[in-house]
């Protein structure tokens, strides 16, 4: 569907009127702050807006209606796995026993959550073929940092301090090289071969005694299974390096391929992709990390442990001295992990395999539908996503991928990921996921085909898109040149309230 509610919203600050909003909590005694030294007290109150609850509710409901979301329509954003988020999982995460639990309670108070976390670790280990899993990282990128820091600790523990490089394919997510830098490594970029896989010759040439790790996304961001992965992993290990798998695309291979069995030493999961926890407009996520035997001692602290008597506990500070430490406060994004746990238990082994089967089938079907209309640089079976390109169309009509993406909005669809991976000209990375119906897939393919026809017949209508969205294309240059990053001067500049 299209985004509706095209009436733009004034800001909270413009809606504010002095004296509004009250009755949420009782007023404190007048002397409540008397024992706080004057020097430590705030002299002027923060200029926060004052609104009554009905105004707050309308503000946020109206704002929400300016958003496109999985709950409103098809969202084929490649590499982001925008599948349906089951509502049971939202209900579960809000159960008072889960939601109300303070993270620093004694273990005996938290047995239910600790059991859930332990079982989730076991399930993720089974799915990935890894030896153990930490649930601590808050998102995939933090999982990457966790993995690379563990690899660093591994090399150091062996007295191997000369390794200063991380190899990353040019099709990788930007988080991979950014992570390597954060961990103090230099990134060596490996080109892709014509078939879309890693260029094995270039890879072998770069691999050596300075290589600490390689980071490989499998399936790749081209939607292709890295079919020479076996020999790549052998070469990595022969060089004394370790192999990291970016698990962003795990949704394609559940029950078909286990990174741990294949020889990866460490990987992260994006539970907000594969295991259907909601993306929340940018987050939260959770980025559990699985490791093989070699990295076990270095897992972040605290781990969740199961005692012989069946009770669960967290590791104590200092209990495992080789640990890389902690990446964040407490044990992890537990509320997100409750949802992932529910998703895995709902599906079981057969259900998860079906998830991947259906996701891959949907992607291949959609790719088939677009054949002949758009360039398909890597035809042949894709996994859960595929790259289409408007390069030929652009040469002929001047219409770019950006224009097509914006025109899709007029047709009621969220655009795919565009201009990524960086190695394909005019790229559209399309990921339909397993939760879409055949009718939806067909409607989307029809729209893309219709837009290609428009590009030939009436390119201006495409170039001027979107025509139906709440706003037109934005002036991003001015936003960056003269940044306005916060509201200032609330009082005296209030616009009339429209309600």
């Amino acid at each position: 569907m299209s985004v509706t509610g095209a009436r733009l919203e004034p800001t909270l600050f413009e809606r504010s009127r002095p004296g509004r909003g009250d009755g949420k909590i009782p007023h404190p005694p007048k002397d409540a702050l008397e024992r706080i030294p004057a020097a430590a007290r705030r002299s002027t109150p923060p200029a926060l807006p004052e609104l009554n609850e009905p105004e707050v509710v309308r503000h946020y409901v109206n704002l929400s209606q300016l958003n496109y979301a999985v709950d409103t329509g098809f969202y084929p954003l490649g590499s982001c796995t925008m599948k349906f988020n089951p509502k049971l999982n939202e209900w579960a995460a809000r159960l008072p026993g889960f939601a109300g639990l303070h993270p620093l309670v004694p273990d005996e108070v938290a047995q239910g959550t600790l059991q859930l976390l332990w079982e989730l670790e076991e399930a993720l280990a089974a799915i990935s073929g890894m030896r153990a899993v930490t649930l601590q990282p808050a998102a995939g990128a933090q999982g990457e940092l966790t993995g690379i820091l563990m690899i660093r600790a591994y090399h150091r523990s062996r007295g191997d301090t000369e390794r200063s490089e991380v190899l990353v394919p040019d099709s990788s997510h930007g988080t991979n090289p950014a992570t390597a830098s954060m961990a103090g490594y230099r990134t060596i970029t490996i080109p892709s071969a014509a078939d879309g896989g890693v260029d094995v010759d270039a890879f072998s040439a770069a691999l050596g005694p300075r290589t600490a790790a390689v980071m490989i996304t499998n399936p790749s961001t081209l939607g292709l299974f890295e079919h020479r992965i076996g020999e790549l992993l052998e070469a990595v290990h022969a060089a004394g390096a370790l192999a990291y798998m970016d698990g962003a695309n795990l949704n394609a291979i559940l029950g078909r391929f286990k990174p741990g069995e294949a020889g990866f030493d460490v990987m992260h999961f994006n539970v907000h992709k594969t295991f259907s926890t909601p993306h929340g407009g940018g987050g939260p996520g959770a980025g559990p990390v699985g490791v093989g035997e070699s990295l076990l001692p270095f897992l972040p602290t605290p781990r969740v442990l199961r005692e012989d008597d069946g009770t669960y506990r967290l590791e104590r500070p200092g209990e495992r001295p080789e640990s890389i430490g902690r990446l964040r406060g407490f044990v992890g994004n537990t509320g997100v992990l409750v949802r992932a746990y529910a998703y895995i238990r709902a599906h079981g082994a057969a259900g998860l395999r079906e998830v991947s089967d259906d996701a891959v089938l949907a992607a291949n079907y959609l790719m088939h539908r677009l054949e002949g209309t758009y360039d398909l640089p890597h035809p042949g079976p894709c996994k859960h996503e595929f790259v289409a390109s408007a390069a030929t169309l652009k040469k002929r009509t001047g219409v770019r991928t950006l224009d097509i993406a914006k025109r899709l909005i007029d047709y009621g669809f969220h655009p795919p990921t565009i201009y990524f991976p960086l190695i394909v000209e005019e790229a559209m990375l399309i990921e339909p996921t397993e939760t879409e119906s055949l009718e939806t897939l067909d409607a989307f393919a029809d729209a893309l085909i219709a837009i290609a026809a428009e590009a030939e017949a009436d390119p201006d209508v495409v170039r001027g898109a979107p025509h139906t969205a709440p706003v037109k294309r934005l002036d991003e240059a001015t936003a960056a040149r003269n940044p306005n990053l916060r509201w200032r001067g609330m009082t005296g500049r209030q616009m009339p309230c429209p309600d």
């Binding site: 404190p28 923060p46 200029a47 406060g329 079907y365 990053l485």
Partner: protein
């Protein structure tokens, strides 16, 4: 679909996985229907004890969250959207982030607020890294009174080759438990190892108020930046970081309408002044116009980010805590500036009530300095007492020895906190239970205890 593709089985689409690398099978519990799964989840949740009378804070605080917050938050338009890469159909998320940036900027009194980080600890680690980038120095000083998990997180983020020194605390006297300014001066006075940044918390981990202005002046005097770790509700009544000269504010946004949920998802607050805007990691949303001149919002200054800059990005952060930033904004909009002040002041009033109730049973504070709504108390055999109070239905704060096992000064101490949800009745129950525990632990009941608990 199979027919359209001209294949007989979906297996053919997986032929590119080499036979030798195919999965051996998948060993998971069988699938469960929604009804069964709901029962399983309810049973697990019921195994947690959330009925306890709680005085536990230590970085995560219980507050009244108006139901409007979650009822607005759960709308699918917020929940099931991705990062607003397509601004034309993401104005809701974009404007809400701009408003979040503005609300937090008001609270901390700084110019620029990132769209969110993972949590307070990770945000503070990013702040410490920022000081190194901005000053091109490689050493950061962190007050020992910053939350131990925040300190541990900074240490992990600095594994890539940066250096940390801890600033000790004043051991005795009126300032006991706060950052030692003389020690700070000595640590800063090291020309071979110049300091990039100084990190201190207000209130500090032990609940005490720090001399933030003095710490900041010392840092600036040595050419270092000053990072304040703050608790956002307290900023309704305490001097904000911008006013005492902090260059960066970091903090845990959980108290702004976010449930404790055993550790997350929470909200990492990160803010700075205009001078450091190019150094701040994470997304930023700015106001601009569309081609019709209509006001609109967009992600901006993207050249700092990993998907553009790759190995030269300010951070690897991609997914953040957008939904929690939204929760915090709705909370602030609903509770308002006066409500937020009432929340902070009521917590402080309840804490004074708790201090008096504990003093009446002979339990004293560990430190003398001023606090807002959290303080440490001296309790012999604190760990054992804390465990036994659980049997009486009381969660007696945090046994500090669990959090700081290496600090003998904290061996026999509990860190207790109150907020606006703490009742006088709960305070009475806590004092009675504690008095009872302490008397049963001693040869005979002290008369003062018997008096107080009558």
């Amino acid at each position: 679909m199979l027919a359209a593709l001209g294949i007989g089985s979906v297996d053919e689409l997986f032929a590119d996985i080499p036979e030798s690398l195919r999965a051996s099978g998948l060993d998971l519990p069988p699938p469960e229907a929604e009804l069964e799964l709901a029962a399983r989840l309810e049973a697990l949740a019921a195994r947690n004890r959330t009925e306890l009378v709680s005085f536990l804070g230590a970085g995560v605080y219980r507050h009244w969250t108006p139901p409007a917050v979650d009822q607005l938050l759960i709308r699918g338009e917020w929940y099931t959207a991705y990062t607003p890469y397509q601004p034309e159909i993401s104005q809701g998320t974009l404007q809400s982030i701009y408003e979040y940036e503005s609300l937090i900027a008001e609270l901390v009194d700084l110019d620029v607020v990132s769209a969110s980080h993972y949590d307070g600890a990770a945000a503070t680690a990013e702040a410490a890294l920022m000081t190194c980038r901005a000053t091109r120095r490689e050493r950061v000083l962190v007050s020992r009174a910053v939350h131990p998990q925040v300190r541990a997180t900074i240490a992990t983020y600095f594994e890539g080759g940066l250096e940390i020194d801890e600033i000790p605390l004043v051991a005795a006297g009126d300032a006991a438990g706060t950052t030692d300014l003389e020690a700070l001066a000595r640590l800063l006075d090291d020309p071979d190892r110049p300091v990039a940044g100084v990190v201190a918390a207000q209130p500090n981990f032990l609940g005490l108020l720090e001399p933030m202005r003095e710490i900041g002046e010392a840092a600036h005097g040595a050419g270092a930046l000053f990072v304040a770790f703050v608790e956002p509700v307290s900023l309704a009544v305490l001097e904000p970081p911008g006013a005492y000269g902090a260059d960066i504010a970091a903090g845990e946004g959980q108290p702004l309408g976010i449930a404790p949920q055993y550790g997350g998802p929470y909200l990492g607050i990160l803010a700075t002044n205009d001078a450091l805007v190019r150094q701040i990691p994470g997304r930023l949303v700015g106001m601009t116009t569309d081609l019709d001149g209509q006001r609109a919002f967009v992600m901006t200054m993207r050249a700092r980010e990993q998907d553009i800059r790759r190995d030269r990005a300010a951070s690897n952060i991609c997914t953040n805590q957008a939904l929690l930033a939204l929760a915090a904004s709705i909370y602030l909009a609903t509770i308002g500036p006066h409500g937020l002040r009432d929340v902070a002041a009521t917590g402080a009033a309840r804490a004074a009530e708790l201090e008096a109730a504990l003093a009446a049973i002979g339990v004293e504070r560990l430190h003398r300095g001023p606090y807002l709504n959290e303080f440490a108390i001296r309790v012999p055999k604190a760990r054992a007492v804390h465990r036994r109070l659980l049997d009486r239905g009381v969660l007696a704060g945090l046994a500090l020895a669990d959090a700081e096992p290496d600090d003998p000064a904290l061996a026999d101490a509990l860190l207790v906190c109150t907020t606006e949800v703490t009742t006088s009745d709960e305070i009475r129950r806590f004092a009675e239970a504690l008095a009872d525990e302490l008397t049963t632990d001693r040869p005979g009941p002290a008369p003062a205890l018997a008096e107080a608990t009558r």
